[in-house]
Symmetry: C2
Subunit: 323 residues, 2 copies
Amino acid sequence: MLTIEHIREAHARIAPHVHRTPVVTSRSFDEAASETAERRVFFKCENLQRTGSFKFRGATNSILCLTEDERRRGVAAFSSGNHAQAVALAARKAGVRASIVMPSDAPRAKVEATRAYGAEVIFYDRQREDREQVARRVAEREGSLLVPPFDDYRIMAGQGTCALELLEDVPDLDCILVPCSGGGLFAGVSTATKAINPGIHCFPVEPETADDTLQSFRKGERVTTPPSSTIADGLRVVTPGKLTFPILQRMAEDVLMVSDEEIAATLGFILFRMKLLVEPSGAAAASAVLFQKLPPDARRIGVVLSGGNVDPEALVKLLEERN
Amino acid sequence: MLTIEHIREAHARIAPHVHRTPVVTSRSFDEAASETAERRVFFKCENLQRTGSFKFRGATNSILCLTEDERRRGVAAFSSGNHAQAVALAARKAGVRASIVMPSDAPRAKVEATRAYGAEVIFYDRQREDREQVARRVAEREGSLLVPPFDDYRIMAGQGTCALELLEDVPDLDCILVPCSGGGLFAGVSTATKAINPGIHCFPVEPETADDTLQSFRKGERVTTPPSSTIADGLRVVTPGKLTFPILQRMAEDVLMVSDEEIAATLGFILFRMKLLVEPSGAAAASAVLFQKLPPDARRIGVVLSGGNVDPEALVKLLEERN
């Protein structure tokens, strides 16, 4: 179960350790997004969160919930991205050992960032091994606890804290949009939001080519889609979580879709007009607003810019393709 | 004359029209800058100012000071960069006509941005004409008032308002660094700073290849240097202002130099670690901190990130050269 009380407790627990990220507005974004109705958009800047994404909230909450015995045994996680860095730093700050399982072909910058945060990196072969199994084996061998990326109530409660802060800063919203992969961020954000004001509509946003959440939402049960190569590399999960999906079914108004071209254009808009770096996954929710995927009556809109970790090479490629 | 009172009056005048830009900190920047001493850096984000740079402060102050007669006659300015956009938007918001003189080979994006802010763009041939003379001719023909980019007390007072805000947010600084071109920003910032706390050291920062301010400061009189092709295109002015230089002589602790490579590396650090886009000129002051140009006893440091207007093509080029 996930309730607003869990999210409030998580917030009290993690607040001394995470950034209270700013909420920014942009007149040029508002103008560009106001084709069909006058819109005001409030961006919760989790790209400015420690380790560069909202994942640090959930990871910190998980690790601060460990028992003394669990702390001694350490933690493990599987991720090639933001969850890895989040668990690594959250563990280091709590004085807990962390092992992160990453594919052997992970970008060097991500491997080094994870090591720089003090974690041990354990490689696996993406072609021949399943990362979750590898991580479970590592956890078993080391006697450590696996910190899952999304399908866990402590993680969801941590991610939901960003909605508490957003609604404290801007209470009168018509809707909130968040990028959706495994659904941990959406579960936390929508649970907090609906408890505070049931009238606020909550929308998860997915890339068109990784629409497992949309298909599952329409069908009423969890669907697994083929692997996607969307530029939103944080949103390539192929099926919603077991625990997150029932929450999403209850809380989501609808699931919105954006194309890779729309995501890239939005990333460019946010970079050059708003001067903020977001990663492709981090731009997905904003993209749904900019490209008019919302019902016309949505006027005051909360958007989570979920992360800002993009490699220089990847950014150059994105900007070149955009030109 | 420029006094703190002028700057306070300017602040009261422009505050309803300009963004109160955030002051941000970054643990990773602090760590990287703390080679010789433990440092804490406070960034005043004028890249998040309207029109993307601090220039909007001075332009707004100038235009709000116009008499009714001057307002009717309109304004003119010469600039291919941030001052053009600042004057264009400040004029439009005040209901004043603006003509901006730009080189005929100015980047299309900048011409279009200036027009989008409602100004008329008048081109001149950079090889054969002097832009200041062209602008004076335009102003004479149209009966309009020239809004100079830096050598003007109203402009300096407007630019100085960002220091009032910074010191309100973070009073106990050891020093403040700002990028320096014609010296308008430095004159305003240092005048405000020294009046509030004479113990705070003020440093203008220049590109090595555009060191007219350093040479002038050392020699005790205004020196003109050959044109520079530094990547910090906003800092290519070849001689300090007549009015700004005497202020700089009194207020500057020293003039600091940074290389183009240091500027590019700093821009990359701010982009990928702090997730903020700054233009090369806007990164100059931060670069002097990151590359240890300050005396070792400077611990609490204010830095103005002066602007964030960089073309996509220029950013790609910068990032590629950096790799």
